[in-house]
């Protein structure tokens, strides 16, 4: 019996690094400081190298998988795994800085981040529903624990409980959809499902549609699309801010990677039926996310609703044809993750003595005390709005172009209108930082070291991707070769 383990190698490396990190922190004397950040970063870098050195199979997403039909290494998986790993490498220093500031640096959070990343790597490379589901659960269980890792705070516990309960609920929906698809096609691999759905289904069409609906609900919870988003604001607000930064970016990358593969790979023969549904969800998500964000006073909650809205923007791309949709999704995910990681990261690195900026008043006049950090935050917020010369603009451009090319101009129109609405709540933060008088005393941390470097790198990436997007377009083109 031979099994090709190579496509699973990146996930295995990351998971083993997590175990090693756990043991190292258990065996070194505890001084409130974890020593595993460098170990974890090395593990992620090694996984990144392996990801790029694996043989890449270019072709349809759903034929002749490498490993007995579970996990593949193709252009889409390589691109998304690289993105997840880079986001992880950027999130780790933020996490260490934040957990030191709240005096909870116990090492476990590093291991949990590694386990979550291992799940994400599996999620974007699975071409089979069972391994997809297991990867989803590995990711989610680690994130539930991370969300509640500020144990002394009741809001962190509340966030973890809400995230766990809704997450378990959505997993049940997902699994039920898997069961129905298995019933229809007699298999769980994507190529089997796609070929069954492409043949005349007869009376089974209803079952297949039901299955697609259940899968959409399951994914909808994970990406926080609108009828299924209600956990997101509470979970993002209550979770430690560095964890919020990580889970609002990496989780969306992984979940959208898998969603694109499932719907544009396995379920594509039913595209005529699920595209209207997805379009309706996208419109709802954009409107509800942005309008709710307008009313928020808490910065983390505002950014939480904003990331709900951004899930809507990504969904508009999914209504177009596979290669174009995948390319647009990838471009948006890259732009969104560096931007959003930076925005939450700025809030996280300002934490000091267990406190952190939560409201507009907390950061008013910050530009005078921390000019560089404020400039970075302004760049992130402008990019989230989608102003030209930033990554956010490039992302929105490609996503809306994809929707228009598929004759869904209404989606692009709603997206544009809602981007205009979003300018109000994003720029309000910039106005507070630059135009309002500073607070009497300086209560926030001075940003130095690795965390500061991460913020600088994110800001630089946002500008570079915005000004010179050709490289990103080329990557996206390569990534989308899987969908042909």
């Amino acid at each position: 019996m031979t099994i090709d383990f190579r496509p699973a190698l990146p996930a295995l490396i990351v998971a083993l690094t997590g175990v090693v990190a756990l043991v190292i922190d258990a065996f070194t004397p505890r001084a409130g400081r974890s020593r595993t950040q460098s170990v974890c970063l090395t593990g992620l870098a090694a996984a990144l190298l392996v990801t790029f050195s694996l043989p890449v199979r270019i072709g349809c997403p759903a034929c002749s998988p490498l490993t007995g039909g579970s996990v593949v290494s193709d252009t889409w998986s390589v691109a998304l795994q690289a993105l997840v790993l880079v986001v992880g490498m950027l999130a780790l220093p933020l996490s260490t800085a934040y957990f030191r500031a709240i005096d909870q640096d116990r090492g476990e959070q590093n291991a949990l981040i590694m386990f979550a990343i291992a799940g994400m790597l599996g999620l974007v490379s699975s071409v089979e529903l069972i391994s997809l589901f297991i990867s989803l659960e590995i990711m989610s269980v680690a994130l539930y624990a991370l969300t509640g890792s500020r144990r002394a705070r009741s809001d962190s516990q509340e966030a973890a409980l809400k995230y766990f309960v809704t997450g378990a609920f959505s997993s049940a929906f997902f699994l039920y959809g898997v069961a129905w698809l298995y019933g229809v096609s007699g298999g769980t691999t994507f190529d089997r499902i796609a070929s069954t759905l492409a043949s005349p289904l007869g009376g089974n069409v209803g079952c297949a549609l039901l299955a697609s609906g259940f899968l959409l609900v399951g994914f909808g919870f994970k990406i926080a699309a609108v009828p299924f988003h209600s956990w997101a604001p509470d979970a993002y607000q209550g979770a430690p801010t560095s964890v919020t930064a990580f889970m609002s970016t990496a989780v969306k990358v992984a979940a959208f990677g898998a969603l694109t593969r499932v719907f544009h790979g396995a379920l594509f023969p039913l595209a005529d039926r699920w595209i209207p549904l997805l379009a309706a969800l996208a419109v709802l998500t954009m409107i509800v996310g942005n309008v709710s964000a307008l009313a928020q006073r808490d910065l983390k909650r505002m950014l939480a609703y904003s990331s709900v809205a951004h899930a809507g923007y990504v969904m508009t791309a999914l209504v177009s044809q596979p290669p174009q949709a995948a390319a647009a999704v990838f471009i948006y995910l890259v732009a969104y993750s560096v931007t959003n990681l930076g925005a939450f990261g700025v809030l996280a690195v300002l934490a000091k003595d267990g406190k952190e900026p939560l409201t507009l008043a907390d950061i008013s006049g910050m530009a005078r005390r921390r000019p560089f950090l404020s400039a970075a935050m302004a760049v992130f917020l402008v990019s989230l709005t989608g102003v030209p010369l930033t990554a956010g603009f490039i992302g929105k451009l490609r996503v809306f172009a994809a929707a228009i090319s598929a004759d869904h101009a209404v989606l692009a129109l709603v997206g544009l209108l809602m981007s205009a609405v979003s300018a109000y709540y994003y720029l309000r933060v910039v106005v507070a930082m630059y135009m309002e008088p500073p607070q009497d005393e300086d209560r926030w941390a001075n940003v130095t070291g690795a965390a500061g470097l991460v913020i600088a790198l994110c800001a630089l990436a946002v500008l570079m991707l915005g000004v010179f997007p050709e490289r990103l377009f080329a990557w996206a083109q390569t990534a989308a070769q899987t969908f042909r």
């Binding site: 019996m1 998971a15 083993l16 175990v19 090693v20 756990l22 043991v23 258990a26 065996f27 007869g202 009376g203 089974n204």
Partner: protein, 122 residues
């Protein structure tokens, strides 16, 4: 079973479900209609197999049991995989040995973590 209608094979299960649900509903309905509603302390007491009930159901117990449960799962999963592995050990050969060694090492990492962080101190 024809391809156009996969349902007939499931009809007996549906009938079984209907009979089960109907039995439950009918018993409750008839006892409600025929029986006289007369409440006594013995009737409203918690059902304890004929014994007089002792205390409430919501007894407090040490939270440490939760850790015992979690660590039990560690060994439970270990054992659950070792038994079938032992059965096919010859067919798997050296590949199976390496696989299982890796698996046990990962679980061992978890166990070492639990031990060192004091989860086993009672």
């Amino acid at each position: 079973m024809t391809a156009s209608s996969p349902l007939p094979s499931y009809v007996p299960i549906l009938v079984l479900g209907a009979i089960a649900a109907g039995f439950a509903i009918l018993t409750i309905l008839f006892s409600h209609l025929i029986g006289r509603p007369r409440s006594t302390p013995a009737k409203s007491a918690t059902y304890e197999c004929g014994m007089p009930p002792v205390g409430t159901a919501h007894a407090r117990f040490p939270v440490k049991f939760y850790l015992v449960c979690v660590i039990f799962i560690l060994f439970d999963v270990d054992a659950a995989f070792l038994y079938p592995w032992a059965l096919v050990f010859r067919e798997l050969g050296i590949f199976g040995l390496i696989e299982m060694a890796l698996f046990v090492c990962i679980l061992g990492g978890g166990f070492a973590y639990a031990w060192k962080t004091g989860a086993l101190d009672w």
